[in-house]
Amino acid sequence: QWVFANQSSEQDSNQDKTRFEETEKRGGNILNPREIQAEAKESANVQILNKTSLVQQEIKGKVIDLKRNEPIVGATVIVKGTNIGSVTDFDGNFTLLVPEGSREIVVSYLGYTAQTLQIGNQTFFTVNLEDEGALLDEFVILGYDVQRKKDLTGAVAIVNMDEIKSLPVASVESMLVGRAPGVQVLSDNGPGGNVSIRIRGFGTVNNNDPLYVIDGTPVSNGLNSINPQDIESLQVLKDAAASSIYGSRAANGVVIITTKKGKSVIPTITLDAYTGFQQAFNLPKMLSAQQYGDQLWKASINDGRTPASDVYGKDPLNPRIPQWLNANQTIPSADVDWVNEIFRTAPVQSYNLTVAKGGEDSNHVLSLGYFNQDGIIKHTGFDRYSLRYNSEYTLKKFLNIGQNFTASLTKTNDVATNSSLGSIVYDAFQFPSIVPVRDINGSFGGNPLNDISNPLGNLFRQKDNTKNRIKLMGNVYGDVKINDNLNFRSNFGLDFENFNQRSFAPIYNELLSQRVVNSLSDNSSFYYQLAWTNTLNYNKKFGNSTLDLLLGQESIENYAELKSASREGFLYEDPNFQYLSYGTQNQQNSGSASKWNLLSFFGKANYALKDKYLFSATLRYDGTSRLANNKWDVFPAFSAGWRLSEEDFLDLGPKVNELKIRGSWGRTGNQQVPTYSTLASFQNNINYSNYAIDGAQENVSIGLVETRVANSNLNWELTTQSGVGIDLEMFDNKLVITADYFNKTTDNLLIYAPIPPTYGGTNDGVWTNGGKMRNHGFELGSKYSGQAGNVFYNVGLNYSFYKNKLVELNPGVNYLGIPASSLHSVNFGQEVSRTLAGQPIGTFFGYDAIGIFQSEEEIASYGLQPNARPGDLKFKDINGDGLINAQDRTAIGSPHPKAIIGFNTNLYYRGFDMALFFNASLGHKIYNLTKYKTLFFNQSAYNKSSDIINAWSPQNTQTGIPRLSLDDPNENIRPSSYYLENASFLKLNNLQLGYSFPASAFQNMELRLYAQASNLFTITNYSGMTPEIGLQNYSSNSRNLDIGVDRGVYPPSRTFMVGFNVKF
């Protein structure tokens, strides 16, 4: 029997919510909605006293979560109009003595819609409470502070954790795919692989990564080491109003991640597990052994040559497959589908155990996770062991301390894909089908045709070259409540990583590819970032206005050190000997380090008048070590909101619950140039600065070369962003719509401007402030939650687009290209995209291919391509000078989608749940560079796509594939629009079915079982493996200049999984 002692304001059915709001306005130390909840609950508990009086009638009941069919522990049941109440126990049961004459009870629980029930003569009540839908939506964590969503004046995308909390995802980033309008996720698909997030397009040409803030601490990298199961909330600050408090690193948006805290007074143990398998799909078909010979012959004949090949013989009429591929007769000929051969069906599994307990003066969460994903490419995979411990203590009424800490060990076995410097997928495309997987001695089959080593052999030989990463990330903080209005917080955060990879290269001999001396290289790095943040919060209510003030200071130190060593000549290749000491020759080592620091001061003021006129202002003053002569800059932001729905003079009707319009303007900065970009210096480089001046055969003198081309005047890049938005809630909050329009202009663009080749080849560019970029776009997030009978459902639709344009480049810089050093010999070193003034970033660049010449007459009448023959590509004379030459290259297409769409729906019916999630991108192009390898016979020694059987010939003119030629006199292979394809797609990203057992089924235990499938189908016209092509490289400075170029990606997998969630 519980009775509320304080009767004054607790009887509103909405009591908890009111209390939060009160708390939120009253307390200065609000940092996290969960804390708010916890505090609210604690205060409720404190005020429940065990008193008995006026007992007249006992009623009992059970409170159940309607959707999940689970008991609700700790729900409050009170007699309306009194202070008499009770809370539910473990099984959701309650008992209450009701005074005579009481007519109604009110049942409420945090985050659920309260219910009022008539008592009448009933003595047992089954109360179904409905989840209000993410309570988190109500509060938005803005990093240094928390705001009610209703008070928000900036653009913030909030990922509905409810929809994805049971969704098995491998990484935090993948939680964002299609869930937050204006957020794009680019991934390389490899297990534990690279992911980049782009918020509101590409704001700059260099570093477009958002800032990640985990539990108030900015971190720099390694999100894949975070266990996604530990995430409590995920929010993306998109506009300057929301993000400029982060000033120097916020220009690309801020992703705010909050990890779990103990909530319930009653300890809970949660076990989540799933397992499943992944498969490759949509793999291309290459030529068989005989087909390759046939096509090689055809290409030779097209060139007027007499076909002959060391492997396929000298019969000019027919290529013949020999019995043996080598003189020693150890490699029999075969017919292998190498693309299929490198893939496999691979398991994925995840186990996660969480123990949590909340309470009056402390709360704790301990979580252990293990995630294992084998790659669908053989011998690749990812393991993650993670541990998290979060705790918080109220030591004194005025003092809270807490910490969030995570440690993880990840082990990654990856392989290069989608890279111009080598891709195992390309290798499989190009490896001859005629070569067997193994020769008669059991070794990997060697290849007599080209220098690609056996793709399986390559994968096998590097299978133990695991990248090990230990990451420690966390923060400790103290909160001092100076008085009711003033709160001081000091937070110290650490982001630490230790990386090691030992790469052993064994001896092998595969004809044209071999290694005669084995070697081991051992690379380690050591990295840390320290962030110390001190903030002062002041909150006060004056009459009908509320003022929140924040003042803060932050210092960040980032240090990285690399070491590597190698030896050759290992007597044994056994893994036990794959340590440096066992190598006998050629001992090498190297090491280097870099460091940068940031120092910042900032302040923010929020002012709300009558709860409907909202104003916010932010100012940040940032200093960076990276800009020697322009260290400091100021970043202001202003925003305002008007809650029209609160106005008496505006009658929006009963259907509109909330209507707010918002507007913002702000400026953020970017200083993320490589360290020391402003400092001229010289260095030794063993690869290209030494020389044997004294004529020695095995000794060099040390030379010094310019390290970089420094720009001492380098200054901050400034992004000015303005936006308007609208938030609308209708039909009892069932329909929630948020729409935003933004305009984002980046000035003083930090660019790596190429240097004319008259400067030589060692330094190919200089960092400079060299242009202006503009993004504008629109974002719409909408969600409808409804009920039909016992079916509860919600439907969400996200839509966004951005338009990116490089407005101008400084005089002297004609374009930004991909540095030649990252092109290698692929495509003859020619870039396929350029960033040109007036065009979007990463615009595809080349000739405009306008068809295939069908006849000599057509070639003659066109007149511009004398070397062409029927079946060759026709190129457009862009500048009309009567010549087809390099001046006719032009912008030929954009990799940027015109629309990015996410659609999800969730259904709940008596314990069953179903989730469907679609995503789509429309209107963008992919440069299918795989065609360079697979459709042209220029590089004739390599296998080709079976599509070329359909190449142009006088007998086969209705085709899009040009004639086969080894010499390619028309240079069909040149970069052109021929490679471009429409990459629009719609994909069923995810389908999940679950069932939650009634709590009665197992004692005190909640159990949910589910099955899930991902990548079930994709509708697209794109001919490659997947229309979702990320970046070529996720770490180089020029990565954003190279978008949507398909170089043989690690394909996404189709995954089927089953799993369960247990809580007791």
Binding site: A680, Y688, E706
Partner: protein, 531 residues
Amino acid sequence: SSDYLEEVPYGEVSPSNMSNPENIERAIIAAYSSLNGQFDNATSGFNSPASNWSFGDVVSDDAYKGGGGTGDQNQIHQLEIFNTTPVITDVQRKWLALYEGIKRTNYALNLLKDSETFDTDLKSIREGELKFLRGHYYFELKKIYKNVPFIDESVVEIQDFYVGNKSLTDEALWGKIEADFNAASSLLPMEQSDAGRPTKMAAMAYLAKTYVFQSKWQLALTASNEVISSGKYKLHADFRDVFLPENDNSREIIFAVQHSVNDGEPRHFNGSIGDRLSAPGGPHYPQYGFHRPSQNLIASFRTNESGMPLLDSNGNSDFVDPRLDHTVGRPGIPYLDLDILYQANWARDLATYGQFSPKKRIVSPLSNFQVKVWPYISSLNYYIIRYADLLLWKAEAQVELGDLEGARETVNLVRQRAKSSQVVKNLGGNAPAANYAIEVYSASWTDAAVARQAVRLERRLELAMEGHRFFDLVRWDIADQVMNAYFDKEKTLRSHLTNAKFQKGKHEYFPIPQLYIDMVGAENVLQNPGY
């Protein structure tokens, strides 16, 4: 605090410290370091080879690209069949390598000029070296690209590197190159303690080469004679031994790119990295089988019984110049000191590129100076100028100036050495491996045309596979005749040349790289005709 935001780079030397004499020396070393064509971390040194195997041999009648078919390094195949375009990687990377050398040279020159602490005598010597290096880099640019922008030490700021190639006439550009070699020859001493540094006579020899390329025959003769009369150089006793790493700074070598292996660079980037595709294959050399001697080159070594070259290419003979088997790998002939016969199947893709392999500049795997692992290269220097080369310039000058007998004598110096050199023996070591015959020209030369042909042929035989042939054909203005005649015949043997055609007035020079045009603006650049 302000200290907190102060950047101190680790492991780097600030510009102010570069003026220390020891760092100036290191900046000069870096200027030399560009000579071997390796200017960045990329493994594609073969695109910018010091030896010009692709730019000088493959595009001539001496060699094929080789490798795994026309599709292996297809862009070099495009060079070989004269389907050259301004975007070919090699065309671009060669340019980058040479201008890298120029930039480093100019930087070091400025350091020297500004230094007050550098030893005064040494200062002028180093200045001479740098002028020599700059002369070399521009010479390479000139012979490959024809019209190139001239950048000297007065150009410092980045924006000043945006220069077109229109300001200097052909003659003026040659003048700049001559000026550098003239300056070098006046500043450099007769002897240098470091073998890798040029001497006064090396500069004089390069000056001779500069004159030769402009057909300034009298000047060429004078300069050559000055080098010869200095007595510093002589032909090495044995033709084969000229190409041993142990002899790569012998008295025959006037100036060479110094190569080094096993020196702490794990990938041996200080070695003959530009030639890393040339390892011939077979049991001792894994990979890659590029730079393959042509049938036509083999045929050019035929002699008659009395050891005289067959000037008529249609003639038939069983005798060959003994230099043939020092220059190329032929089936049935022992390969270097490996005690093994070269076999046709060493050669990669012989269906396309035939059975011959390079040999002259290939180092035996029994030598410590040949790297047995990737990149399969050696420390053998690349000879930019060796004495035989200089002698043959002199002979040319003598022919052009009418001193035919003098020319004959000069050519005979080269032939005499070839004659007195050891020949390749069979595996037993008891007999020549083939019918070798070589003799000096004993009959008087009376016809200038015949003499010219003899000198030119001698150049081809003596210097085959050393990266000079194409540039010789161009300066003799016979590239179109020679190459098209070669293609007509050779393509009946080698189908990869089916579509090859040399266009007079265009293919004498490689195109100005598109990258340069794109960056400084097409309006500022004069592209070579036809591209």
